[in-house]
């Protein structure tokens, strides 16, 4: 019995020692990297999107005609884009005359990447459709582009693809709620993208200009921008015109109703 326990202990110690030695010497050796993911995702997406078009009975959409390009990012600006996880985001653009890209020029895909170099990607429903779709003969079938799986070669090229997309600034607030002194804030979010978001927001209440607020946000962050002046009593709507120097923003001014204090 004593001998058995000793052998088991020795084996455990050996395994742990070997494991830690391997990990200590290898460092960041994950095969899941940004360039591999970007290359694999565009290939896989182009194939399933062309298959979707074929099911719909459309002609002329081929994987090559889509010119898909992607930029992937793992968990915000400060993290290295390496390793498995459910926090990978990929921005992808492609060319389909019947489905134009939104103003920012890309759709956002959420990826769950596993350590075995396989991933599941879910696209934006506005661009890729829902779980089921109608085929050319009117039957309801599974949409191959709604969610799809892919695997990439762990030995494939790891040179950067050089594809970058701007972060998208969004106004998150749906109402303006001034306090007793008329002070209010505007909540904005900056999505995944290359450099984060920077620019200014011009604020006006009816014809009265309330001034501009400069902003600078890191990618994948939110901020509450304080309005430069008090909202005059009796104002029913406040309009925000976003001008972005870095990143992409809402092309049209955003008008929000005022909710009384």
């Amino acid at each position: 019995m004593r001998r058995t326990i000793l052998v088991i202990l020795a084996a455990l110690v050996a395994v742990v020692a070997l494991g830690s030695a391997v990990i200590a010497t290898s460092g960041d050796s994950s095969t899941v990297t940004r360039p591999r993911l970007e290359r694999s995702l565009t290939t896989t997406f182009a194939n399933v999107y062309a298959e979707q078009a074929r099911i719909q009975g459309r002609t002329g959409v081929t994987p090559a005609s889509l010119h898909a390009q992607a930029m992937c990012d793992k968990a915000g600006a400060e993290n290295k884009d390496v390793g498995p996880g459910g926090d990978w985001n990929c921005l992808m653009s492609w060319t389909d005359p019947e489905v134009p890209m939104p103003p920012e020029g890309y759709g956002k895909f959420e990826l769950n990447v596993h350590s075995n170099d396989c991933y599941t990607a879910a696209g934006p429903s506005k661009l890729t459709g829902f779980l089921t779709m109608t085929d050319a003969r009117g039957r309801t079938v599974t949409n191959p582009a709604f969610e799809f799986d892919g695997c990439f070669d762990p030995h494939s090229s790891n040179t950067p693809t050089g594809v970058v997309f701007p972060s998208l600034l969004n106004v998150a607030s749906t109402v303006v709620t001034p306090d007793a002194h008329g002070r209010a804030g505007l909540q904005v979010t900056c999505g995944s993208g290359d450099q984060g978001c920077a620019g200014s927001v011009a604020v006006s209440a009816g014809d009265t200009k309330l001034g501009t607020i400069p902003f600078r946000l890191a990618e994948e962050s939110t901020a509450t921008l304080p309005l430069p002046a008090a909202v005059p009593a009796g104002t029913s709507e406040v309009t925000f015109s976003v001008r972005v120097d870095t990143g992409a923003g809402p092309p049209k001014p955003v008008t929000l109703p005022v909710q009384g204090p």
């Binding site: 058995t4 052998v7 070997l18 494991g19 391997v22 990990i23 010497t25 290898s26 460092g27 050796s29 994950s30 095969t31 899941v32 694999s40 290939t43 896989t44 997406f45 182009a46 194939n47 399933v48 298959e51 390793g83 498995p84 996880g85 596993h114 350590s115 075995n116 170099d117 396989c118 599941t120 599974t142 191959p144 969610e147 799809f148 799986d149 892919g150 695997c151 990439f152 070669d153 762990p154 030995h155 494939s156």
Partner: protein, 290 residues
Amino acid sequence: MSALTAQPAPTGSRSVPRRRPGLLAPLRWEVRKLRAQVRAKAVLIGALVLPVIVVVVIHGQSRPPKDTLFGRFATVNGFALALLVLGFAAQWVLPLLTAVVAGDVFASEDQHGTWKTVLTRSTSRGQLFWAKTLTASGFAVLVLAVLAASTIVSSLLIVGHQPLIGLSGQTIPAGEALRLVAASWASMLPAMLGFTCLAILLSVWSRNPAVGIAAPVVIGMVMQLVGALGGVEAIRPFLLTTPFEAWHGFFADPHFTGPLTEGLITSAVWCAISLGAAYVMLRRRDITGG
């Protein structure tokens, strides 16, 4: 024993020239013992029947098991279903199937106290070791073939053979898909034989069939868990469960076989070390008691 073998062969009974029996005689005995074993027969029948039940049950689901590779199309595509079952089998079923025989083949002699009996037959410990190892490996090949054939045939008959969407999104025609699915099942063999060798080592070392059968399955599941962790991926190439995922490369476009080659090396190293240790243990063991 040496006194016995030194005696001249009894004349008149047979005219075969007298020699020490080779590997064939103990191998024949081991196979005969295996064929008489209820457990081994039950495992083979299970490998034949259970996939059919699994295929029927999954085919009847209204929602496909999407969180597993190829699960998305498993209810509508026979090839996808065969690959879903493959992914599940690799988690613990394949190590268990081989360990049922390999984990027992040495330890059962301890359990029944029959080491002295088998070694008094004129066969050396080395020959006996290789006979038992070959029997266990042969059983692993057989049970994998039965499981693969049963899964593929039942999937194709029950669900159908539609073109398959591969792991680069490409559409794979049915004929090509069948070839790739069969190759994927075959690619399980190296790692499965690795588990066979591991089970033999545990069987020789523990002298206890329960340990020989259960421990490889537990070790396999721990390796699976460690291999799925982020941050410790450097250890993945050394795990015996990583080769179980090498088939993913067959379904990408272009195909990649790097993981398959690495998996072959990993499995061979695990097998060589396990068998080597088991052989040394058996040779040095003092078998004088019952």
